[in-house]
């Protein structure tokens, strides 16, 4: 847990070059996730299920869509869009759907990354022993009073700033009343009348996975963000036992409320995914959807597209100032990206079917379980709870100074979009940049920055300029070469497996063409081996020198000596190259040179020069620069 700390702070240094004492929290996200994951497995094994909840509900512990899968899906969608024949069997649906415009608003609940609860000094926890962190007020003991922990404002403010909100100088806390066994006071303390942040927005791009119809980008306005308390965890043990764990009671949450401005299920999922990654990158949220750290409620309505039917829109509904919308329904408590997009698509189909058959949509609350083919009604509008919002008489208004907001703005860690931009500028491909951002909750990205940082220092000491596209090479090694090695050795990534400084010492001679790729790979795997074996690790330059691995430019004659016998032994292929222009066969000869000769085996040959020699000897000049 502590090992990732220095790496993270290095990342901050390299990105912001400002002190950032406010961010350094002794919580490692990946550790939290691992712990939580373990408890989830245990809970399942123990035969305990999680009942669906009406409000702030229990996470359903579904798998989040892996990043690789997301990339594949994107590619598939692109291909489908190009060929124009995607999903033929649903063409009738598509026709219907195209007659209707979908409108979605999303309320996201995210657990804040704080040491203490919102209204008591009890510690926050994810998988500690049940009911081990419960203050008197958390259990709503008679006579106890709330103690607002003002430090909890910091991650909330970072989130609000990152989501471009206006921070309100004065905000207040209100009680939202409803009875449920996981709500000990009979009310949840939230910010209904005066939330702490308003009027934000985020912009989603094609690479965020938005629907092609929203390409290249769409900006989603955020109405407000409010702070509130989480509830207890209910563990239902059939047939009639409910176990309550109050550790989660009063864990600080923020609720992020979007305007109803999303029109496609894929864009809705992209919105949630992007907010999740922003919350992580500014150290605001403890965990993602996969462990219940983020839960979504979606409002869904449809209206007939006016350009086709020219319908009068005056009769429509208005939400948050967005006029002319259809009657909306709310789907509560979605706990994965898949659930968000599936539930919206399925609810859209249901509403279309109802309206196309002459029915009307009722304003109601509905539920959805991943894998199910329909949303189900939870309660109608008449059955809606009247929350009787009342200002909490025990909690003074929160006044946030502009100086604090400015300080947090100045020291905010870089956002994913900015990181992506700077990676691409350094020569990293878009695809590799996205991979770096997604792997190990950003730990791999930190490692990348560490290697770049080390290399820059080496070049500075040597008085040399770092090569222009250094980022591309480093990313390639940090993602692909390291990835391959992790697979063959069946190990998990940690930043000290091959220390960043060692990789930098391998890449420095590679970048200067002093060693070949093969030798770099060899050194890399040796380092990994040492990391496992705990033998004393010799320094990289020592090995290079000791084993004579440094690339000595072999003379043209040596290359010819290797190439000529090969050409002589294979006259048919030479002929094919010469007369039929089968230039691809040139590379066969190059391969033979690299693998078949002693020099090649020792990694002393450069493929590019070998190709040049073969071409010259055969008389096919002008090999493309690779």
């Amino acid at each position: 847990m502590t090992k990732s700390e220095p790496v993270r702070s290095l990342l901050f240094q390299s990105l912001s070059s400002r002190p950032n004492t406010l961010f350094s929290r002794p919580i490692c996200h990946s550790c939290c996730r691992k712990l939580a994951g373990r408890s989830a497995l245990y809970a399942r094994g123990g035969g305990i299920s999680f009942p669906t909840r009406t409000l702030q509900t229990q996470a359903l512990l579904e798998e989040v869509v892996p990043f690789r899968k997301q990339l594949k899906d994107e590619a598939k969608r692109k291909r489908a869009a190009l060929s124009g024949n995607g999903a033929k069997k649903k063409s009738t649906d598509k026709e219907l759907i195209s007659n209707w415009e979908l409108t979605v608003g999303i309320e996201l609940h995210a657990e804040l990354n704080t040491a203490k609860k919102l209204f008591s000094s009890a510690a926050t926890s994810i998988s500690d022993e049940p009911n081990s962190h419960v203050a008197l007020f958390d259990a709503a003991f008679p006579g106890s009073q709330p103690h607002f922990q003002k430090e909890t404002l910091l991650p909330a403010l970072r989130a609000a700033i990152a989501l471009n909100c206006k921070i309100q100088r004065r905000s207040t806390f209100d009680r939202k009343h409803y009875f449920y066994q996981d709500q000990p006071a009979g009310y949840q303390i939230t910010q209904y009348y005066e939330p702490f942040a308003k009027d934000g927005h985020i912009t989603l791009y094609t690479h965020d996975g938005i629907d092609p119809a929203d390409a290249p980008s769409i900006t989603i306005p955020i109405k407000q963000i409010q702070m509130e308390q989480d509830t207890a965890k209910t563990l239902y043990q059939p047939p009639s036992t409910y176990l309550l764990d109050f550790n989660r009671v009063s864990h600080p949450l923020i609720e992020i409320i979007s305007m109803p401005a999303i029109h496609h299920p894929a864009t809705a999922a992209a919105y949630v995914r992007k907010i999740q990654s922003i919350l992580k990158s500014v150290d605001a949220a403890t965990a993602g959807m996969e462990v219940g750290g983020l839960r979504a409620d979606v409002n869904v309505s449809i209206r007939r597209r006016k350009d086709q039917h020219g319908e009068d829109e005056r009769a429509g509904h208005s939400y948050s100032g967005f006029k002319g919308l259809g009657q909306r329904t709310e789907i509560k408590n979605l706990s994965s990206l898949r659930a968000v997009s599936d539930a919206i698509a399925i609810e859209r189909s249901r509403q279309i079917a109802v309206l196309e058959s002459g029915g009307t949509i009722e304003g109601e609350t509905r539920g959805f379980t991943l894998g199910s083919s329909e949303t189900r009604k939870l309660r109608s509008k008449e059955g809606e709870i009247d929350y009787r919002y009342m200002p909490d008489p025990d909690i003074a208004p929160v006044v946030i100074g502009e100086d604090l907001v400015q300080h947090l703005r100045d020291t905010l860690p870089a956002l994913p979009d900015d990181v992506m931009d700077s990676l691409v500028k350094d020569g990293v491909s878009m695809k590799d940049a996205k991979t770096l951002l997604s792997l190990e909750d950003g730990d791999r990205l930190d490692y990348y920055y560490d290697v770049v940082h080390e290399l820059t220092i080496i070049f500075e000491i040597d008085g040399k300029k770092p090569p222009k596209k250094m980022g591309r090479i480093v990313a390639n090694w940090v993602i692909h070469e390291l990835g391959a090695l992790l697979t063959t050795t069946e190990s998990n990534f940690t930043p000290d497996l091959v220390p960043a400084s060692s990789l930098a010492l391998i890449l420095e001679p590679l970048l200067h063409k002093q060693i070949t790729n093969d030798i770099a790979r060899f050194l890399f795997s040796r380092n990994l081996h040492w990391a496992h074996s705990r033998e004393p690790i010799p320094s990289v330059p020592e090995i290079i020198d000791a084993e004579g691995l440094r690339l000595q430019s072999l003379s043209e004659a040596v290359y010819e000596q290797i190439a000529k016998p090969l050409l002589d032994e294979n006259p048919k292929m030479v002929k094919a190259i010469k007369e039929k222009g089968q230039t691809g066969k040139i590379m066969w000869f190059v391969g033979q040179m690299m693998r078949g000769s002693d020099e090649g085996k020792q990694g002393k040959l450069e493929a590019k020069r070998a190709e040049e020699v073969v071409r010259r000897l055969i008389g096919v000049e002008g090999g493309k620069e690779r």
Binding site: L136, A139, A140, F141, P142, G143, S144, Q145, P146, H147, F148, R175, H177, F179, Y180, Q181, P184, A185, G186, Y187, S240, Y242, L244, D386, R388, Y389, M390, P393, D394, I395, A396
Partner: protein, 486 residues
């Protein structure tokens, strides 16, 4: 009298006066040891809505009938460390909701005067009866709309409600937290002052505890030697005021005028929004109560209906039946009132309007007091600046008026009253509660309808933070009417 002798007499009185039902739980004789301090060895009774670890805390409710708090209220800890001994837990109207201490799960409190069973006042009736009957040296009560002052007036003792936020509420079971104030019942003002001095301190556990800076400011403004101007609010001279009470009011005014010719003057003042105070209070207090009492669901503590789960096997298996059985009728009435006035359809017409009325009541007070309200910023109050130009010499230091419109009614009368009639008992105490002002009820001599000598409560109300001035004036009145021997 030695401390031991005093304690023995108190405990003997407790045993002899059991029929008045002042105590829900008696002191544990093993715990009568004390630390030395300013309240050395004195027995102080605690209203049973204030949490104690050693004795159960029931709030006189069925839902907490066997509840013992895992912690002590700040006021209890402070009393003990100042040397006081907890004399037991006193009876009250359930959760403090009532004016006669008859709405208790443990039976009504009463007093016997000349063979008649009279109301002890409420909701701190148990504390008042215990003090009046010398079952303890003094007692703590809570005052939300008059719950310390009214029983003090009805039982002929001193009842002091300090400024809101001066005494910690940590460990005090909330009825309406924006109004709830811990108060002191005693047989003379000096004792009330001694206990107040022990309890009035900032407490970090209570988020509404007044910070040290404001306390210091108020203390500075208190000067004993100054010429005192007492205001007589004309709106309090209502038709419903009983002749006996009106007479006592007039006599104490003339007695003060005569005795303190050189240093005291009187001024008639107007508090026009007084008539809004009672309806505003009976919207706001139940609204907060409906919220505060939502926590009693039988899940974590308190009683749970035996067949709680039989009702609704689907969602909330415990609540409806548990709450239906656990709460008394008056509490249910106020929960329903409050739930209604906070509902989406009614909040604008009731809760919001009542908050506005509350602000108007507070401004009325700020307009008549010479001292400014330390809780407000310096800027003048909106459109009312014109009224504000009342010359300083029209302003007063304290107000003096009766605590209740009548002498204590008989319990028979009380039983015949509707809820609404009962609520009018609080008409003179509620305004100071809405504004959070210090107010004390002091007994003065009176003569009832049968020409029998009795006591009547007079109330002194001061600007926020002027608790010392209020106590000073109460002491002046006490000196005129003959101080009780302690």
């Amino acid at each position: 009298m030695s401390l031991l002798r005093e304690a023995q007499r108190c405990i003997a009185n407790q045993a002899a006066r059991k029929q008045f039902n002042a105590f829900i739980a008696a002191a544990n004789p093993d715990n009568l040891l004390y630390h030395s301090g300013p309240l050395n060895g004195h027995l102080i009774a605690i209203k049973d809505n204030i949490c104690t670890k050693d004795l159960p805390t029931t709030a006189a409710s069925g839902i907490l009938r066997s509840f013992t708090s895992p912690y002590d209220a700040t006021v209890v800890l402070k009393l003990q460390s100042a040397g006081a001994v907890i004399a037991g837990k006193t009876n009250l109207d359930e959760f403090g909701m009532g004016s006669h201490s008859t709405y208790s799960y443990f039976g009504p409190v009463s007093q016997n005067v000349d063979g008649k069973a009279l109301s002890a006042g409420g909701s701190s009736g148990g504390s008042a009866i215990a003090v009046a009957g010398r079952e303890c040296w003094a007692a703590l009560g809570t005052d939300t709309g008059g719950s310390v002052r009214l029983p003090a007036a009805y039982t002929g003792i001193v009842g002091f409600k300090p400024s809101y936020g001066l005494i910690s509420r940590w460990g005090v079971i909330a009825y309406a937290n924006s109004l709830d104030t811990v108060g002191i019942l005693s047989r003379d003002v000096r004792v009330a002052r001694d206990i107040f001095d022990v309890l009035s301190e900032h407490d970090r556990q209570d988020p509404t505890s007044i910070p040290v800076s404001i306390r210091k400011g108020s203390a500075k403004s208190h000067r004993k030697d100054r010429h005192l101007r007492i205001g007589i609010p004309s709106e309090y001279n209502v038709l419903e005021l009983s002749p006996a009470v009106r007479k006592s009011w007039l006599s104490i005014i003339s007695a003060l005028r005569e005795h303190y010719k050189a240093t005291v003057s009187f001024q008639s003042v107007s508090l026009p929004t007084t008539r809004l105070a009672l309806p505003a209070y009976y919207v706001l207090a139940p609204a907060e109560a409906s919220s505060n009492l939502a926590k009693y669901d039988g899940v974590r503590y308190g009683s749970r209906a035996a067949d709680a789960a039989s009702d609704a096997p689907d969602r909330s298996p415990l609540f409806a039946r548990t709450r239906g059985e656990g709460f008394g009728n008056e509490v249910k009435r106020r929960i329903l009132l409050g739930t209604y006035s906070l509902s989406a359809a009614a909040i604008d017409n009731y809760f919001i309007q009542a908050q506005r009325a509350r602000r108007l009541v507070q401004r009325d007070f700020d307009r008549v007091f010479r001292a400014s309200n330390p809780l407000l910023s310096e800027e003048p109050i909106g459109h009312e600046t014109a009224d504000h130009v009342v010359a300083d010499d029209g302003k007063v230091d304290v107000l003096l008026h009766p605590t209740a419109p009548t002498l204590p009614p008989t319990l028979d009368t009380v039983r015949g009253q509707t809820a609404l009639e009962t609520y009018t008992n609080d008409v003179f105490t509620v305004p100071a509660s809405l504004a959070g002002l210090p107010a004390i009820s002091v007994p003065v001599a009176s003569v009832d309808e049968q020409s029998i000598e009795t006591k009547c409560g007079m109330q002194v109300v001061g600007q926020f933070g002027n608790d010392e001035t209020v106590l000073d004036v109460a002491e002046m009145i006490e000196n005129l009417t003959g101080r009780e021997a302690t």
